[in-house]
């Protein structure tokens, strides 16, 4: 809880640094501030979770919330290391960008810790509204503006369904607290009123939109590829993690005993998401758009974790989101450099011969691609492994078969990048990388490796 307050203050303070024009100090302030927030958040890990009574069951910082928040904070901090080089030209309002990213993070943390529908809604909105603006931060680019407005329109449209669903649930259960709704669900598990069921389904629609599950994913490819790549990274990592934290929390803590109601629907969405995401990614010529579709297909794998819903699920979802975020961070990070170096060309050909003059970048990208493809011993393998095993424990064989087939398809387009990088024909020039930028990428890649060898370091944090 203290972490959220501190983080909000940090965001406001960052806006002030813009007013006073402390440009040099901005990045250190934000990073050190985030480190402090990380520690504050971590302290909650060791205390028994308590309801924040003053706010009558609004948020709870149990281990689930703390662990997810920690990942969100960490990934955001790493993203800040990339910010400086990426936003070199938009230097004028960099403090606004920093501030908005921090506010988005506040929303994300609320989504991991809500214990009341009101906070869920607020979290989503606090996360989304800055994001609509962030998507348009490359003001001079048409695509960026288009992404912003598309995201805004589609986002508000889906929020309507979420709100409508909440209202229906309230109509049946007469409460907004997770506890209260859970009691209601448990008590009426056999014969839930239609209004309640409709509420669940509409809320699901809203949430599935946020996690870009098919067929509610239409916004994602356009927004992901239109938005500034740094913001796309942010959406694929922090926002996706937060959305899954919220979705699982919502389903697990409230509608757990109503699983028969939503299971088939989510099963279908999971399968569809994987298939559409993967097969569309196959067809893309641009690496950025490929990664956007890959992000959709990864949401499909994660949905398997959600429908499995047993004692290991929270851990395996967390592990997967963390690992996926790290790999995305690295791959988007390298993509940004390559794209900038090639004058905006983000196709596979832009990667040709990267290994020759930029072996470090090619190595990082290779690691990230191997992890995304799920090749052991990288962490991506264990991410998939945990999710699949989790579903197998419940006997959900078919969805796992679909998922395995899909991961095989995935290997094709991830390896295409690797093949391009190690192709010999053309050799691009040496790309200048700021030390901080490289540092973040190296740390993320190293984590991919270490977490693959010692998955237990993080895979049991919620026990």
């Amino acid at each position: 809880m203290n972490a959220i307050i501190a983080l909000s203050l940090l965001g406001i303070f960052t806006l002030f640094t813009g007013i006073f024009n402390w440009r040099k100090a901005m990045l250190p302030i934000v990073v050190i501030g985030l480190a402090g927030v990380f520690v504050l958040n971590g302290m909650d890990y060791f205390t028994t979770p308590s309801w924040y009574a003053d706010y009558t069951h609004m948020v709870i910082f149990d281990r689930y919330a703390v662990v997810f928040s920690a990942a969100l904070i960490m990934i955001t901090a790493m993203l800040f290391f990339l910010c400086k080089q990426y936003y070199q030209k938009e230097d004028n309002n960099i403090s606004d960008i920093y501030g908005l990213i921090l506010f988005t993070l506040v929303g994300g943390m609320l989504m991991a810790s809500f214990s009341n529908f009101a906070m869920l809604f607020l979290g989503i909105e606090i996360l989304s509204i800055p994001l609509y603006i962030l998507a348009g931060t490359k003001r001079l680019e048409v695509t960026s503006n288009e992404a912003s407005i598309k995201y805004f329109l589609m986002g508000s449209f889906s929020t309507g369904f979420l709100l409508f669903g909440m209202a229906l649930v309230y109509g049946a259960a007469h409460t907004f607290t997770l506890d209260g709704i859970r009691q209601y669900t448990d008590a009426h598990a056999g014969d839930l009123p239609t209004i309640f069921v409709a509420g669940i389904m509409l809320m699901l629609v809203g949430m599935l939109f946020k996690v870009s599950g098919a067929p509610f994913h239409f916004w994602a490819p356009d927004v992901y590829s239109g938005a500034p790549t740094l913001i796309t990274t942010f959406m694929a990592t922090v926002v996706k993690t937060a959305a899954f934290a919220a979705l699982y929390r919502l389903l697990f803590y409230t509608f757990g005993s109503a699983k028969p109601i939503w299971f088939d629907a989510l099963w279908g969405v999971a399968a569809l998401t994987m298939i559409i995401g993967n097969f569309s990614a196959l067809y893309q010529h641009g690496v950025k758009r490929m990664l956007a579709y890959s992000s959709i297909s990864n949401a499909g794998y994660l949905l398997i974790g959600v429908i499995a819903m047993n004692t290991h699920s929270a851990n395996s979802i967390f592990y997967y989101t963390l690992v996926y975020s790290l790999a995305s961070l690295v791959s988007f990070g390298v993509l940004m450099l390559v794209t900038q170096d090639n004058g905006g060309d983000d196709s596979y050909t832009a990667f040709k011969g990267l290994a020759r003059n930029n072996p470090a970048l090619a190595g990082l990208m290779t690691l990230a691609m191997l992890s995304l493809a799920g090749i052991p011993p990288l962490a991506g393998f264990f991410g998939k492994y945990y999710i699949f095993i989790n579903a197998m424990e419940n006997g959900y064989i078919y969805i796992v078969l679909i998922a395995v087939a899909n991961s095989l398809v995935g290997i094709y387009y991830y390896f295409k990048v690797i093949v391009a990088m190690f192709a010999k024909d053309t050799a691009p020039t040496k790309i200048a990388v700021q030390p901080a930028y490289l540092f973040a990428l190296v740390v993320a890649a190293a984590l991919l490796f270490v977490l693959g060898i010692f998955p237990d370091w993080v895979s049991g944090l919620m026990n």
Binding site: L153, M201, G268, Y283, P455, W457
Partner: protein, 649 residues
């Protein structure tokens, strides 16, 4: 991250100050070589050669000191067997794996051999590799080698053992192919790697079977549960045979031995390290460590005896007429490993360990000595071009002579004592084994004497330049030789026969871990005396034969008839080439040409086409118009809700 050095499992009876310190010491023992590797690998090139050599050696010395501390404490009775958990690793389903390490008398003995001899080889390398541009890279690999070998012998479960097992395979690949600009050396490295892989597959399958049967890979769980099985239980037989296949790969037994002679492509200190202190001892160690399982499977034991015997004879005959100084030594290693496996097979596990130890002393000495000779000869390895070196390189000559004495079984040297014990054990097991093993031992004497005379006696047969260049090696090389020479001479005292006033210290030391299944030998003392006399007579006869033939001034080294078959190593490589490699290549050519094109490409491209066509249609959905997207979403929601309703009502 769970706290490093979290919890300590302590054998129930003993708990004292030293056992508390053991996790730290254990971590240091293993990590020191690793730190040396990291340091030399990343920073080595920027530092002076002296510094990277010193750091490389000092880390191993540090590990040796810790191992010696363990040894001293185990002698004084501070602990007998102690398990240290440095870290929990993975939990997969019902299985849990941890970084557990086992410190007992067996692992301490291995630690001492690895770090002790490893240290000497490191020091030697400072001199030997001094002119090489990859100096720091070389030391980093050596350190990594020791690190993995330590993992292998200290792991408290088969998984850690396996990590070390694979790790030494990797390091041997890196070191054999150290001079990677020579394609032949690269091929040798690949061969070692592939041969080892075959064995590793056996070991891996064995591990799976263990996990399947016992539900755990921990030595303590497996060995205590093994008590519930009867002898020749099918599961145990399968496990032990698979493990033995693994051991065959690592310890170069028939039919997986051909990599070891080729492994001499690496720099000579590497040969010494692979042949003496690390790598090849892994298979022997693993069998001894699993002695509880092997004892339950007489079938496997018999198999081991036969394979060991066959290897000892086979490699011994090949060594008879080799002209490359390192090749002779390499085949002699294969042969000596055969001896070790004979001992294991007949159930004399400690005897196998004993020979492993003495062999480590004298084989390290011989290889390093050979390195010194090669150094003096300016890189020449062909003994037909040597001769008369005894006066030119005195220290090398004297120490090498001691090595030859030890391996030939000169009475009361370490090699005599350990080989003598193996022969006794064979005698107990069956006369025919004894006779065959004796023949192999006689061959050892022959090829070592031949090597010795050709190298150091007669007159110099090399070029004039080489003769001019001859010089003794620097102290960093000769001092390790002297230390090893002393060990080779007196190393046998730990297990000296009773009749000559000795004690079986080693038997007693290893008795908590190893249970020998061989029975007390009747009339051992009488046999001992007979062997001693026979050895003396045999040595004298062979001395004269070899001296006449090989202490010469002219030597062609070309052979005809059966000798040529031996000199050409029974054409095993050629047979493997014809039977395995070339059919494989033909098959892969066939597959590339037909199966690949028609089926794989057809299927993949077909699937790719289907996917792309499907993708192109899916892509049409992504038109970019917001109005259309909103419409699609509404349709989706309607379908979503409708389907859900249909399913449930």
């Amino acid at each position: 991250m769970k706290a490093l050095l979290a919890h300590i499992e302590i054998s129930p009876e003993i708990h004292n100050g030293f056992t508390d310190a053991m996790p730290m010491l254990m971590a240091a023992l293993i990590l020191l070589p690793f730190l040396g590797f990291v340091f030399n690998f990343f920073l080595g090139q920027r530092l002076s050669k002296t510094l990277s050599g010193v750091i490389g050696s000092a880390t191993i010395l540090g590990s040796f000191i810790i191992a010696a501390t363990f040894f001293a404490q185990s002698i004084s009775g501070s602990f007998t067997s102690h398990q240290v958990c440095l870290m929990d690793w993975i939990e997969v389903g019902k299985y849990k794996f941890s970084f557990n390490f086992l410190i007992d008398n067996l692992s301490i003995m291995m630690m001492l051999i690895i770090t002790g001899i490893g240290f000497l080889i490191h020091v030697y390398s400072i001199g030997y590799m001094h002119h090489d541009e990859g100096f720091s890279r070389f030391f980093s690999y050596l350190n990594l080698f020791i690190f993995f070998m330590l993992l292998l012998v200290t792991g408290a479960n088969y998984l850690i053992l396996f990590i070390g097992w694979e790790g030494v395979g990797l390091c041997s690949y890196l070191l054999i192919g150290f001079w990677f600009k020579n394609q032949e050396y690269n091929n040798a490295a690949k061969k070692a790697f592939i041969m080892n892989r075959i064995g590793d597959l056996g070991f891996l399958l064995g591990m799976f079977k263990i996990l399947d049967v016992f539900g755990s890979l921990n030595f303590s769980d497996v060995f205590s549960a093994a008590g519930g099985f009867t002898a020749n239980d099918p599961a145990i037989v399968i496990i032990t045979v698979l493990l033995f296949i693994g051991a065959c790969g690592k310890s170069a037994q028939l039919p997986l031995f051909t990599w070891l002679p080729d492994a001499m492509a690496g720099p000579t200190p590497v040969s010494a390290l692979i042949h003496a202190a690390t790598m090849v001892t892994a298979g022997v160690y693993m069998v001894v460590r699993s002695n509880v399982l092997f004892a339950l499977s007489p079938f496997t034991m018999e198999l081991i005896t036969i394979v060991g015997l066959a290897t000892a004879l086979f490699a011994g005959t090949i060594a008879l007429f080799q002209n490359d100084i390192k090749k002779v030594l390499a085949y002699s290693t294969v042969s000596q490993l055969g001896f070790m496996f004979i001992a294991l097979g007949v159930g004399a596990f400690t005897t196998g360990m004993f020979h492993l130890m003495t062999h480590a002393f004298f084989k390290a000495l011989l290889f390093l000595g050979a390195g010194s000779v090669i150094h003096a000869m300016g890189g020449e390895q062909d003994i037909t071009k040597m001769g008369g070196l005894s006066k030119k390189i005195k220290i090398t000559f004297i120490t090498f002579t001691i090595g030859v004495m030890a391996i030939a079984g000169f009475p009361f040297t370490s090699g005599f004592v350990s080989k003598d014990e193996i022969l006794l054990a064979d005698f107990q097991h069956g006369k025919i084994y004894f006779i065959l093993a004796t023949i192999a031992a006689i061959m050892t004497v022959f090829y070592m004497f031949r090597l010795w005379f050709l190298t150091f006696f007669g007159s110099f047969r090399g070029t004039h330049d080489q003769e001019h260049h001859l010089h003794e090696s620097p102290p960093s090389m000769t001092v390790p030789l002297m230390v090893l020479a002393i060990l080779s001479l007196v190393g046998g005292f730990v297990q000296f026969p009773h009749i000559f006033g000795g004690h079986d210290y080693l038997n007693q030391y290893l008795s908590p871990v190893v249970t020998n299944t061989i029975q007390e030998i009747e009339g051992a003392d009488k046999l001992e005396i007979e062997i001693l006399i026979a050895t003396c007579i045999g040595l004298v006869i062979l001395w004269f034969i070899t001296k006449k033939n090989y202490a010469v001034s002219e030597f062609k080294g070309e052979y005809t008839g059966f000798k040529k078959v031996l000199a050409d190593k029974y054409y095993v490589d050629e047979i493997y080439e014809a039977l395995i490699i070339s059919p494989f290549q033909k098959m892969s050519a066939f597959i590339t040409k037909y199966v690949e094109v028609i089926f794989i490409d057809g299927f993949v491209n077909g699937a790719g086409k289907v996917a792309q066509v499907a993708g192109s249609y899916i892509r049409l959905l992504q038109s970019g118009h917001i109005g259309y997207y909103l419409f699609a979403m509404v349709i989706s929601i309607v379908v979503f809700l409708l389907l859900n309703t249909i399913i449930h009502f």
